[in-house]
Symmetry: D4
Subunit: 251 residues, 8 copies
């Protein structure tokens, strides 16, 4: 640390640059892809493909792989997958059409491992994309994940069937659209932290995830919530909690 302070004293670094270095990041000339944040929080940055052309997406992915060894792309169409495969012909590409995610890694890239498990609970096929996005970021962070599918508040028996599994997890992500009641029901049955993930199903009044979002925010039990369809945020937050648990486990 001494050398950083010397650099400040000598004028080579501004105090802000010094602070930045001490905080574990650097301002590279690379611009757009924030390798620093990845280092800083241990959360892989995601490239949101939606609203970008396949070509723009692939270029960013290449920059990410070059800088950090890996690119995580969300909300990708088939055209995005094709463009990434074409441009990163040397990389290992793993794409999941249901989750609409792509992960590209340079050969030999080693993921971290977190000794903690995250359960991802969904009610139906319409939750698959958001849940898959969460699963992708968790896998990249190294947590082990368990998918608990096809449960729903209108089918209580299915929730109860999985009770033991739900209680064994270190953290739970519970995705739900429509009225968004599932996280409330699940959180009432476990003593694990639950993250509610509203999904943009539903139509008409309160549709597009609005009712689900408000229902989770107003839950009569203990929950925290992320944005509608924000599978990446839910996964990364669960990953941060899982890593805190795993770090404690390692001590």
């Amino acid at each position: 640390m001494r050398d950083i302070l010397d650099a400040v004293a000598s004028g080579e670094l501004s105090p802000a640059e010094a602070e930045a270095k001490l905080a574990g990041y650097t301002t590279t000339g690379a611009g757009r892809f924030d390798a620093a944040r990845e280092t800083r929080r241990g959360v892989p940055e995601a490239i949101l493909a939606e609203g970008k052309t396949p070509d723009e997406t692939a270029t960013l992915a290449a920059a990410a792989v070059e800088t950090s060894g890996r690119a995580l792309i969300t909300r990708a169409s088939h055209a995005h997958v094709d463009a990434v495969k074409a441009m990163l012909s040397d990389a290992d590409i793993d794409s999941d059409p249901r989750a609409r995610t792509i992960v590209a890694t340079e050969p030999g890239f080693e993921r971290p491992t977190i000794d903690a498990s995250v359960g991802i609970v969904t009610g139906g096929t319409s939750d698959a994309e958001a849940a898959g996005e969460a699963a992708a970021v968790l896998r990249e962070m190294g947590a082990s994940t368990e998918r608990i599918e096809d449960v729903g508040v209108a089918h209580l028996g299915r929730v109860l069937d999985h009770l033991e599994t739900l209680r064994e997890m270190d953290v739970l992500i519970v995705a739900a659209g429509r009225e968004g009641a599932l996280p409330t029901v699940v959180a009432g049955l476990v003593n694990t932290p639950v993250i509610g993930l509203p999904v943009s199903t539903g139509y008409g009044h309160g549709g597009d995830g609005e009712a689900a979002m408000l229902g989770m925010i107003q839950s009569c039990t203990v929950l925290s919530v992320v944005n509608v369809d924000a599978g990446y945020i839910a996964g990364a937050q669960a990953g941060l909690i899982a890593r805190a648990v795993a770090d404690a486990r390692d001590d």
Copy 2:
């Protein structure tokens, strides 16, 4: 019916007046209190005390008792109760401070009886007023009611404990505030018509019953819904269904 048409032909009645008479109502000079609607739909009109002075409320109640033998008053404060008792000293007064209802009847008033049962399910004390309003109108319509209290989506065991009772009812009213998930959970367990009654609990984003209302409207199971805190409407709608069932039972 002949004499009505004669009265039209002779000019004593306008076609509109004739239609009115055929439809079972008359335009009395009494103005405000609609005794006709009561006759027509079999639903006692309610006098909403909120926003009226005790004196105005009592005057309307007196008009209602005189016209129809009974007054049903909702959202009444202690002052409203006192004013009604003072002005209708000859009537039988039955007031319920938790439901904030008053029923005044002339001596000897006979309620109808409906051979059908309505279950009213609530999660906590904050649902008591809306549920009590529903119970009051149902009692006046003659249906038998069953209160199932202190159940909630965060306490699934309590719902399951009451399953048999829930399934025995002809109609269910399920009240819920906060995220409003209880009607969805209950409707998933029974084959009875369920009416969702959102309650204005909750604060902050989506509070005051907004999340509950949207959650019930977006329910992933089969429900119909009434306005926030609209206990009177929920009760009357359940009463109409109960009467349809009872009428069929009587055939």
Copy 3:
């Protein structure tokens, strides 16, 4: 019931599984299509075609027919109809382009019959899809339905022309877009339960069914309401009421 409890005691069933069985449903390996709910509530599950590919829709329909003898598909385009016909070549297919519904049944499938009638009231062609969806689910539940079309609050004479029919029904579904006043007008004329079905017509401020929804929620008469364009829910709720009436009639 004894054998279920034995299975619990012996560890073959968890208490939750036991509860599930007692409640009349089973968790099949089939996953997605909930034959159990159909058995439990007597309401045919609907497959929402909107947002699914023709292929996905047809696959789910095949699963539904295999499990329960029937598939009910809503919001189907011509492409969905073609895919269902191609995949279920042995089934009887009945599709209604105005209602955008498809019903596929295995040969010899027998619908239930409910001895009760449901009136479906609409104001114009723009209500036809929602009303047709309601009619489809009611037909599958076995209720007899009567369509009362082209009435509207700006044409009171037409409402009054149908008064007798409206009063003969056991339940009424009243669909309306724009200002959504028709259910209020109809409910003021009958003593039958009325379910308001807002339709997403209208444009500009309060358009897309918003004004209609709020108007029905705020109705000055007794109504319950379903979501905008939720013809399936309106139909199923009317069907549950009709069945309750018919069951009483059968006693």
Copy 4:
């Protein structure tokens, strides 16, 4: 007009001042009370008492009487009435507690007369304040008004009873709270211009006049609309139409 232009040429008046004078108004030193607008549009300015102290209200009323011979005060409490009576001891004071209006005139003040009639239709006591405000401004503008009370969409017979009167009016103001359907129903029955006046009754979702406002804006018939509880605006707009009709009648 020549002298005004001379004043511009000589620099006594700016072009803007000239324009103002030609347009029929003057910028007095009196400040707050716009006697000019009254002259210009023939609509008496209203002093909104709500949010002003009794003393402030009375002071403005005195300024209005001094400038234009008359003060029209809306949303006045008893305290406002008392303060106006005390400060304007020489004026004729006419206050209406249901409409919450006060009109103060200097002795001998002569109202205009408009040979046209405006119908003001209301559904119940909760519409009385807004309707009374409209009636007050119309009386001050000189139009004759007819009150048609206690009609409502849930009581169609009452609407039909008044059909002849409704059709005789030159303009109609139709006030309604809750779902706000009455203006639509009335406008479907007459060939008179109808102004919808939403009233802030109703509670819960879409309450406080929101559903009524949206319903009138979305009406499936021909209407124009004013703000919630804006009785003064509805009355003044109806008065402008009535005067246009009366002016034509006088030609």
Copy 5:
């Protein structure tokens, strides 16, 4: 009138049918096109092409021409125009691409004439469609219209240039998008009834006519308002006022 009442007395007509006839309309078997409303209110019904196929639109237009001699179609695309021309080859077709209106009349159709004038004020090209829709219905109702274009609150000089014309009109429609201030500015300068017509220009926060609508509803001067882009309603309401004025002029 006597024969209608006889028909009621003899059972040939229900009271509702009688009322309908007295009110000036009949329930034809034609269903959809409400020729009756046209007779009743003197306002030509509009066929909204948006959301209908060209074929459906042309079929409705044919029905309208057959029933009432004329069809007025709004929000029509080129395809709608072509289909109408093809199906109504004998009719006179007048289409306006800026207003997106089509008027088809049977040969020899005679429009009414209203001796009153309506000014239609707009700020720019984006108001042309709504204003043109208003002009079309006014022309069909027989009123004379004056277009005052390219004025706006940010160009006060242009408003003032047209002041004399504005003051000569019997009614004014003032269209505005963005912040919607023009109707307020115009209404402050004239003593004519002003109808505010919000237009769906604007983007971002309060865009799509929302700010314009709210601004007109909250206007600090006297106005009434119609829905966003509701040129037909604005025109028809102005036409009803113009006709009331013209009728008075004729007396």
Copy 6:
């Protein structure tokens, strides 16, 4: 567990009751206070004093102390404090007027201890109540808490001053009103899970915590969020995470 299953087999317990017992809760006759949930999730139930009379609050507190040894009361006024002190004269009472919390414990009550630390970051005095509520529930759950006050996005230096402390915590709650940017800024600097707690400061457009809530939901970094002013929920969620960490630490 054997004896529970025996009780099921013998009919003493329903499967639902069995499930309930296995889940760690019992349905007591006490009704309102859910001691079971406390046992189940390890989160002390809170009694929300707001909207309850002092007497009702004290009665519930007495029930809570009797059942679980402790009562946690939130949003309490001075009158609530006095009533609780009067009714629970034997209990230890700890009230915090800034946080508006009361904790009552029976003599000798022993809190759990969690070997994990939670940082509670606030920007100003207006965040004190929500933050204090979070601190109270964390203290009752046994976590150690650190308050980091008077930091804000408009005073970045203060945030940076506390960087080391922020990074040492196991979980962070960051409260913010107005634009709610502080949790985003903090989460960008640490690799700890951050829970955003919006506070109902701010006025006008987006006030009362609305902008803060939306800003946290839309954060460009990784966060989860609770309702506006939901200090209790934020604290309990942080407590669940802290306990998960501590349990891992203990392994």
Copy 7:
């Protein structure tokens, strides 16, 4: 600057503390009152009295006077004024009941002077508080202000009368409630930067400043906007612009 870097090098200061010092602020132990921000931006911090007790307000005011020589208090009631006068008996107190502001200065306090002028335009008495708040902060920053009152879009002549004055200002703040059109009209007439200040007048749909805010945001001319009733922000922003102009003038 050298000594700061030395302090960093020696470990006396963290880089963040160094950055803070270089930026012109220090973290005092005083906590709440941000004297630093005042130094940094040259904008006096305001103490918002609303929601604080008179005593809390006076205590903060004392801290402000002690730290910076001056306290600026907004939204103060008479009770706040009395408390400030009592606690700061040695200070010079200047309170303005219409603006609801208090300024307390230590004897001999010298305000800065900015050689630039700010015009504050209002339409009526209801804008006085917000405009007065803006004027207070501008006076404390040293700018000269000109009040242009009682102009409004419905009284264009008054706007035009003040055109010369409006054009002489360096910056304009234009306050408006209701439909908020005045800033648009003014900005169309001048080439000066205009800041729109929406005011919470208006009632019903779009009331409480909502329509005014949206109208300014959607203005068809060039404006920037602050929050509803945010007189302090409008004044401070105008002050920053005025100072930039004055600094340029001084060069």
Copy 8:
């Protein structure tokens, strides 16, 4: 000025025309393109290509170049660029695909020069369009602009790196999407006027710039704000401030 007044006196000019001329604008027959406003405020009018056909856009651009020597076109697609190039073959065309702007000038056109600098701060590529639009209008107004890119609240180091540059600017535009916190952070570090420019990034609850807009409106520091994506307005407002500063500098 004398001759204008003479023209008024002689009737050649109306007072309004005189006022218009004095204000520096004329009503040309050209209609749509407001060359006058450009002269009046020194802000080049923008032609919004979005919603216009390429041909319409090019025609307007030709009119603008003919009238004022220059056309500024915003939100242009490639097709718009091609059409403008084709129609204005003699003009100098400068198009920026990232900003989606086109500037066409007649040969030899001379831009003004403003001796003041505007900083435009952005967080990422999604802010490029709005920022580029602001830069385009500033360049046309003659201000020098500095782009500060890729800073964001989650990367504080980057903000601090640019602190010196930020403080050297005369005005700052700070664009931000998602939670919109960047303008608040920047404004807390400088004593320059800051204009917040919300950008329509973000999805789900509060997406499309809604959270960013509300966050800037609620900022706890001194800012003024423009509409979502309103780069042109932000640039023009900054340009007006810059010119005021430059004019002072020139004195």
